[in-house]
Symmetry: D2
Subunit: 320 residues, 4 copies
């Protein structure tokens, strides 16, 4: 193995740059040449590929987003696109590929592997919804960003004795809502993985009001429904001076947290090690504080991400 | 003058607690008793009034919101409400009142003054839309909060080569959009105080795209229209991969900035001085770095807040 | 079990308030009365004890430090002090105690246990140096605070082409230096758990200079030596325009991170469960993402905290 | 005027990059070519000069430090150095120079002006100690950085009932200490521009203790003496459980605040305007919210920066 490449794909996540940096530095440390592919699979197929040196990853570890850019590229689901991508890699003499992204990105890596090209996936998404790892790169930063927003909203909610519905990202997963909700002292956390009872929520808010509680914070995962829709439904049970805050895209960016940078660095270095050992078709994860790898096909097909639902029960116990 | 009171009214703003603290400490320093009124004019009429001691304002200077709470109370526009409020103040032996809030709050102070009760207004709102002052308490924090969000969104916008419409608060004023827009390097700032030409904006975005610019950030004051509406209108001129971010209530809260705490402290101490001198019917402001006061009636009736439109021109010059 | 109490002891750590909140809310949720003891073991012996209600822990989850205060109290190492403490607990009808703190605090809990009073320890310290847990409450916040400082210092170091020695807390443990160092892209991490070679460090700095690197950041654990001493020793190998930054106490405070609040909440609720089951003499930990408990005596006597030294090797690989 | 250049000199300050960006963008907007000089006057003399394009200042507005680097260069005080610098500028066809920095940098600009080369100075330093302007670029960010540290230290000080001496930068000026001290609710602010009485400070701390105050925060400007020295002297009057925190270099870096970015943008654009009008030998300032310019020689020779000492009196009134 003399040359490897790296691309980022799917929604950007804080820590992607730290992972790229680790791949580049570990690769160069071990005597490899490392190439960067711009715009994910779209750039792969288009041949938007350039050599990365130490200086290219300088002053990047602290930056959000991905300096290799990302792009949606549904065409990579076709065999034609995949073969074209492999052709480009071969043209540059590249023998192994690291892909950072969510499950869409993993499917691309899986396809390349099926065609015989070694690809390794690093889980990078704020949503934490990738099987094969306890935590994805970007999740820790995202929950801290949401938490900052919750802390700010609490000021206003308390000052005006209001109920806030705070809609947070997460696609179909409730992880961001769960972690940020517990950390933010949410009165209620509403996630796709668990039923909710609007009437019970209304009663709980009223009970809090009755005993003098000033604010009520409901953290709602976007996978359940939109914040405005939720507030409207809630309003049929009473007037709780409800306001809606849809955090949206501010949760994606920002300088990565310490943990995300460490996670990304570990993942990046390990991805290079796997390729050096001639291994491909693997996805990397952090399981019980250990960096592990697993068959990417099996992981995607046989595993399903499940959030830490003990947090849901915990919140019901301590936020009543 | 032996007893004064303080209330916060209207939307909460970071630094209100610092102003309350300054009023309480300056008052006690000078031998006065200081009372706090909960829930603004509603609490005034209801008699929700308590004495504040040094310890009550301890550990408050860094907190967002208002620990005296705020509330909407349209009933205070009636003479009946106003007289009831004065009755409550007299019941507690209170001889002067400090009101912190926006222009609604000033109207209340003006009414009390007209009934012969000395009231002094401190401009406290994130919107900066109060006549008689260059800056309001809360504005500096708000623009920094918006700026953080813009910096985060830039990461994502750049990574995905997208256009973002970032809707910010400000009611009918463009101050927040102007300051945060210039500070955030916005490509375009859209405010109520200035016309905009959607076609020209679209052309500018396209021109940026053509020369390789990755992101485009449009900061939109809510006083113009909603972010989604704006994006829809923009989309009739081309597909700019536009996303909308409505910052909303996260801009209200948060620990106040250094400048807001200093401003609030100066205003609070000066308000007490004015009452001690037997003056009422005044609103306080910062003009050219000097703390000043002016007739509250005249200020509200004859002056109109105008944002620093030189920022609009500056941005057109340096963000082309 | 009808009444339990909680105290914080040793150096304060962000998240202690979240843990107290969880103990109080979980306890009340389960029908217990919960008491708070001020000033750690000193307050225990002095009987500075009061009942805590839901409202007492409102608006506390986001606050750094400990609202129950902490204090050094070497006298609790004596049997006399311990028996006096138990007497006070009995006077209030308290049947179980939760102690949050570092290893000194654990020794107190161990002593109470030996005297037959059920005490459960929650690891709360920024230093992460407690056996029986992968992470302590406060560590995650501390490494993010250090990281912010490193990011700031990098700006200045790059602008002036300087070497910075950044001394961080951690007592005898290198955890903070390791995590913040990897996350901050430190050129060198110097910790008590690993030898260092000053000459080799000097050569590495010179090599970076030679290839055009602008800044050099050395993260130094206080357990090795002081920053000024280190810089002086380094200067005997060459002039690297070295500056020293001793982060000190700013690393202790601050609003806890999402992860610290979640960890603290889990620990707090679990501590109450253990006491409810009649269990004492235990310390709580997070091992491989699971909340666990272990004999406090055995844990302290037979286990030694070891930092994740794989981070040290990782950094040598990716920061060369 | 066809070509202008820009350099940064002296200690780096947040917002320098925003000023460079404004100079480059305003210049290009008006049809000029803009050159960047690396490493301040050292780079000027060495001819380390390159053309800057729009893309060179992209993604820079939010970054601390200066991407043109800075350096000490006492040799520029000699006529030989100055003439060599002018020679380099002429070699590149540069007809006007913008200098961003502190008073040392202004002396360089003054010398160039005396030799007939038009130079305009922008005040950029965290210390706020430049005559001719109310505020310098970097000051607002610096006071907010100090404030964050104070807020963190307050957590620990309160938790342990301690006195903290917080030493802050500012060279011979007390501005940072004054503003951050008032904003942080400091019990005492000690600055070079005002006498202090250690015995009175000790008595005030004791009085606070006596009435139950938990923490005591003393903000000390480095221009008075070092924090450790101060604490030692204080300790001769009693044991106040004093700790020292020397903030040092963390105050220099960091992403600039909204206000610093706006100030820097205004200054940068105005500097270009002045050069376009054929004016040199001027320094720019913000006076009473207006951007102004003045003779750089006269300003340096006849004016002395004085901090807002009303803040000192205010603090004595509200922090007793």
């Amino acid at each position: 193995m003399k040359r490897i490449a790296i691309l980022t794909s799917g929604g950007d996540a804080p820590g992607m740059n730290a992972a790229i940096r680790a791949v580049v530095r570990k690769g160069i440390h071990d005597g490899l040449e490392v190439y960067g592919i711009n715009y994910g699979y779209a750039g792969l197929v288009a041949g938007d590929i350039r050599r990365l040196d130490i200086a290219d990853v300088g002053d990047k570890i602290q930056k959000g987003g991905t300096f290799l850019y990302s792009a949606r590229y549904p065409e990579f689901a076709t065999e034609e696109g995949q073969l074209k991508g492999i052709e480009q890699l071969k043209k540059f003499g590249i023998e192994g590929l690291v892909v950072i992204g969510g499950d869409g990105s993993y499917h691309g890596a899986m396809a390349l592997t099926r065609h015989g090209f070694p690809a390794v996936g690093i889980p990078g998404t704020i949503d934490n919804d990738i099987p094969g790892t306890d935590f994805t790169v970007g999740f820790d930063t995202a929950i801290n960003t949401v938490l900052e927003a919750i802390d700010r909203i609490r000021d206003t909610a308390t000052s005006h004795v209001r109920t806030f519905v705070i809609e947070v990202m997460g696609r179909n997963a409730g992880d961001i809502a769960l972690w940020a909700g517990v950390a933010g002292g949410a009165d209620e956390i509403v996630i796709p993985e668990h039923n909710f009872d609007m009437e019970a929520i209304a009663k709980k808010i009223q009970a809090g009001r009755d005993r003098g509680k000033k604010h009520c914070l409901i953290v709602l995962a976007e996978g359940v429904m939109g914040g405005n829709e939720f507030a409207e439904e809630l309003s049929t049970y009473g007037d709780f001076h409800t306001r809606v805050s849809i955090l949206g895209h501010i949760v994606r960016g920002g300088s990565p947290s310490a943990r995300d940078r460490v996670l990304a660095s570990k993942f990046g270095a390990y991805a290079v090690e796997l390729l050096e050992e001639g291994k491909g078709g693997l996805c990397i994860g952090m399981k019980n504080n250990e960096v592990v790898s697993a068959d990417i096909i099996e992981t995607l097909e046989n595993n399903k991400h499940v959030p830490d639902l003990s947090l849901f029960d915990l919140n019901n116990t301590i936020s009543f």
